[in-house]
């Protein structure tokens, strides 16, 4: 599948690094974190258990040793009673003491003293017969062992000392027995058990680490698979699911990621589809635009102008103007029932067929029948075309036409000021196969007199809806045409487009809206006679003189080009700056009119302007300075030639600036400028060399007051 833009990243991330850009992340493995945690836990558990048990063991051991020491001391006291009554107690006691020490090496000393405090029994013979002294720093050790009267159990840092009185069977004190036990014995016993504990701790920690490591490795194994899957998604591969067989939360996460990938894939497919549709609409619009003629078309005394507004979805409207070899013109308006690209393809088929058949089909009904036959072969069932086709002869103004189920055309007659709907009978093209259309078609004929107007439209006009649901309807079309017909085809089209837009409100057109309007000029063109011959003659003279300028149909370029060109004309060198300004203004206005009305701002087109030096010299009446001014003496003329639509620069009425209405409108001032600067403006439209305007330079009898101008 294609890598969707915006989802894939071109760089495959290196293993171990996170996908996508950004700084490299130092990875701290969960495995190690958990293992360290396990070690910490095990150790602290074992240590705390060890501490408690050692504390208890120490207590128990101490108690036991205290009891034992006391017991030993009591035995010694019993044994010593007889000896102390004898004459030489030391002789009896010595072996007893020695034997005790030998049997129990943990004992530090065993001593028996008599009632005077003199040592009578001790392992060390040197201490015999010396007074007994307690080891230093003895304090009462415990109350855990029950003591009889006279007994004590004391301890210092090193020793535990039990003291038991030696008593005669009658009750008299004979002396005291002392047994001292090394406390280091307790520590030794405890240390041995601590060693064992350490061993246990080590074993437990090792077991814990191993278990944690193995468990975590097992649990984290899906992470690698998850990561690989997410990286695949990042690369744009949405087709390979992670499919993790894991019953932990990792499995849930993998399922969620898989769902996300599926969702992304759906969204992506929708996006591609949307783009494809948008592209198709664009394509259709371009295709449609390329098939429709642009701007207006001048045919002698006739002007044909079309207008097309595409619906949002691109409808299937089509209009065309086809020049025929014999000078006549084919006019077509059609509405294909399909919309979008399909409708446009039918349009392009229609356009090709019209061009192929235009010379062979002698009448409009022939043309429609031939189109029906050929379209019927290729159109899908249910697709049909309503169509108007007419052939206009510009020489006679005769329009022959036929209609295949299209809306009835309208004709406005200048003479009566009335609008007429022409009946249209035929059935649509490709609606019924097998040539059934032939019998429904009929050629009709009418002649367009000067000033008349012919209007053909599509149902986009009649069936446009207002926001309240009401239709624009044929009556409104008729009203607008009747009202604006005197303004010519541009006026009618402008008014219809505007009215319909107002009717629709803010909504875009639901269907294509198409108009084709033919206007017969109100004033018939000057017959090819003396005037036209004169104009052609003047053009030829001017071209022979070779002092001309080609001007592109671009408003921005006109003024600088004119200014520079005029500056190079010697005859005009003596004009005052203001006079030169006027001349530039007048020529600019004329050329701007051609750009706007004749060429409709088509920048590919151009016009020619020639300077023709004085062709007749008026007798210079010597007199005032004014009359000798350059303005007067350097008379000459300009010849403007263009191929645009005709308009009437000579049919001009002076603007009355004292009327506030005229000032507020602020339009039509261009021709005022032209006529105030030029003595004569003669317009010769539609000559074999195009439209020729002859301008005689020099003030008219009524010029404004201003310096350097003869009034």
């Amino acid at each position: 599948m294609t890598t969707p833009s915006g989802i894939g990243t071109s760089a495959t991330p290196a293993p171990g690094s996170p996908a996508g850009g950004g700084p490299r992340r130092r990875v701290l493995s969960i495995r190690w974190i958990i293992t360290a945690g396990a070690v910490l836990l095990t150790t602290s558990a074992v240590l705390s258990v060890g501490f408690v048990s050692e504390h208890n063991a120490r207590g128990a051991l101490t108690r036991e040793l205290e009891s034992r020491t006391l017991l030993l001391a009591r035995n010694l006291a019993l044994t010593s009673a007889g000896a102390l009554l004898g004459d030489f107690p030391e002789l009896t006691l010595q072996p007893v003491v020695r034997e005790m020490l030998a049997r129990q090496p943990e004992l530090a000393f065993v001593t028996v003293i008599d009632h005077r405090g003199v040592i009578q029994g001790d392992a060390d013979p040197r201490r015999l017969a010396t007074p007994y002294r307690d080891p230093p720093g003895l304090v009462t050790a415990t109350d855990r062992v029950r003591l009889a009267a006279g007994e004590s159990l004391r301890a210092n840092r090193d020793l535990l000392v039990a003291q038991v009185p030696v008593r005669q069977s009658g009750g008299g004190d004979l002396g005291t027995a002392y047994v001292g036990l090394r406390r280091s014995h307790i520590e030794g016993t405890l240390a041995a058990s601590r060693g064992q504990q350490g061993l246990v701790l080590l074993v437990l920690v090792l077991l814990g680490v191993g278990a944690a490591f193995v468990l975590m490795s097992q649990l984290l194994r899906p992470v690698a698979a998850l990561r690989a899957g997410i990286e695949r998604i990042a690369r744009g591969d949405l087709d390979t699911p992670i499919r993790l067989r894991d019953r932990t939360e990792m499995g849930l996460l993998a399922d969620t990621v898989d769902e996300m990938a599926a969702g992304l894939k759906r969204a992506q497919a929708e996006m591609i589809e949307r783009e494809r549709l948008a592209h198709e609409v664009d394509l259709a619009r371009q295709l449609q635009r390329s098939l429709l003629p642009e701007g207006a078309c001048a045919l002698g005394a006739f002007t044909v102008r079309g207008d097309h507004r595409a619906a949002a979805e691109v409808g299937g409207d089509y209009f065309d103007v086809l020049r025929l070899r014999d000078g006549r013109v084919g006019l077509a308006v059609a509405d294909v029932s399909g919309k979008g690209l399909a409708g446009c393809l039918v349009m392009s088929m229609l356009s090709a067929l019209l061009r192929a058949l235009r010379e062979t089909c002698t009448s409009p009904s022939d043309m429609l029948a031939a189109l029906d036959e050929r379209l019927g072969e290729s159109l899908a069932p249910g697709v049909f075309v309503t169509m108007f086709y007419g052939v206009l002869d510009p020489a006679s103004g005769r329009l022959t036409w036929a209609s295949a189920g299209h809306n009835p055309p309208l004709v406005w007659r200048r003479a009566t000021g009335r609008l007429q709907s022409l009946p249209a009978r035929g059935i649509p093209l490709a609606a019924i196969h097998g040539g059934a259309i032939r019998s429904t078609l009929e050629d009709a004929e009418l002649t367009l007199e000067p000033g008349d107007l012919f209007v053909q439209y599509t149902d986009g006009y009649t069936e446009a809806f207002a926001p309240d649901g009401s239709q624009f309807g044929l009556e409104r079309v008729r009203d607008v045409v009747t009202r604006t017909a005197p303004d010519g085809c541009a006026g009618v089209i402008g008014a219809l487009v505007e009215s319909l837009a107002d009717w629709r409100g803010a909504r875009p057109p639901a269907d294509d809206e198409t108009l084709l309007v033919v206007e017969a000029e109100a004033v018939a063109p000057a017959p090819a006679g003396v005037d036209m011959a004169f104009a052609l003659d003047q053009l030829q003279l001017a071209q022979a003189a070779g002092r001309g300028l080609t001007l592109p149909a671009r408003l921005d370029d006109l003024q600088p080009l004119l200014r520079d060109w005029l500056a190079g004309l010697d005859e005009l060198g003596a004009l005052s700056p203001e006079e030169t300004d006027w001349l530039v203004s007048a020529l600019y206005e004329l050329c701007a009119n051609v750009v706007e009305h004749g060429y409709d701002h088509d920048e590919r087109r151009s016009m020619e302007l020639w300077w023709l030096a004085t062709r007749e010299r008026e007798p210079a009446s010597a007199g005032s300075d004014n009359e000798r001014s350059a303005w007067h003496l350097r008379k000459g003329g300009f010849v403007l030639r263009d191929d645009g639509l005709t308009y009437r620069p000579d049919a001009w009425r002076e603007s009355d600036f004292s009327d506030p209405g005229v000032r507020r409108r602020g339009r039509g001032i261009g021709l005022d400028i032209v006529h105030r600067v030029m003595r004569e403006v003669a317009y010769h439209p539609s000559t074999p060399r195009g439209n020729i305007t002859l301008l005689t330079f020099g003030p008219r009898p009524r010029v404004p007051s201003g310096e350097g101008v003869v009034s």
Binding site: P577, A592, F657
Partner: protein, 117 residues
């Protein structure tokens, strides 16, 4: 060859805005001028148009100036033209429009005229 048409605005006095135009005043730039001036009109200010840097004025430009004056007059605001270039003056004279378009030699004069009313 196409120059960009520019309008630079600046308040002057209490009730006046000065617009300085630069470039040709023709069918392309006239709508721009009208919409900019529409803003000034809506703000209730008087208007001074400095045309010293307008090297050429076409009929559509003249029409725009006339229409502006009328529009402002209807809302009881004033428009004056200051320091018009020779090209502008010559066309105004050719059409004899001095009585409808108030021309002043300097911006200050124009502002003073408007503020004095």
């Amino acid at each position: 060859m196409s120059e960009v048409f520019r309008i630079q605005g600046q308040p002057a006095g209490d009730r006046t805005t000065v617009l300085r135009l630069k470039g040709r005043l023709d069918a392309h730039s006239a709508p721009q001028l009208l919409s900019r001036c529409g803003q000034v009109r809506d703000s209730g200010q008087n208007l001074v148009l400095n045309l010293s840097e307008v090297p050429f004025i076409a009929s559509s430009g003249v029409g725009a100036l006339l229409a502006l004056v009328e529009e402002f007059r209807q809302s009881r605001q004033g428009v004056r033209i200051a320091a018009a270039s020779a090209a502008v003056k010559s066309v105004v004279r050719l059409l004899n429009l001095q009585q409808f378009l108030a021309l002043d030699e300097t911006e200050e004069e124009a502002v003073a005229e408007l503020e004095a009313v």
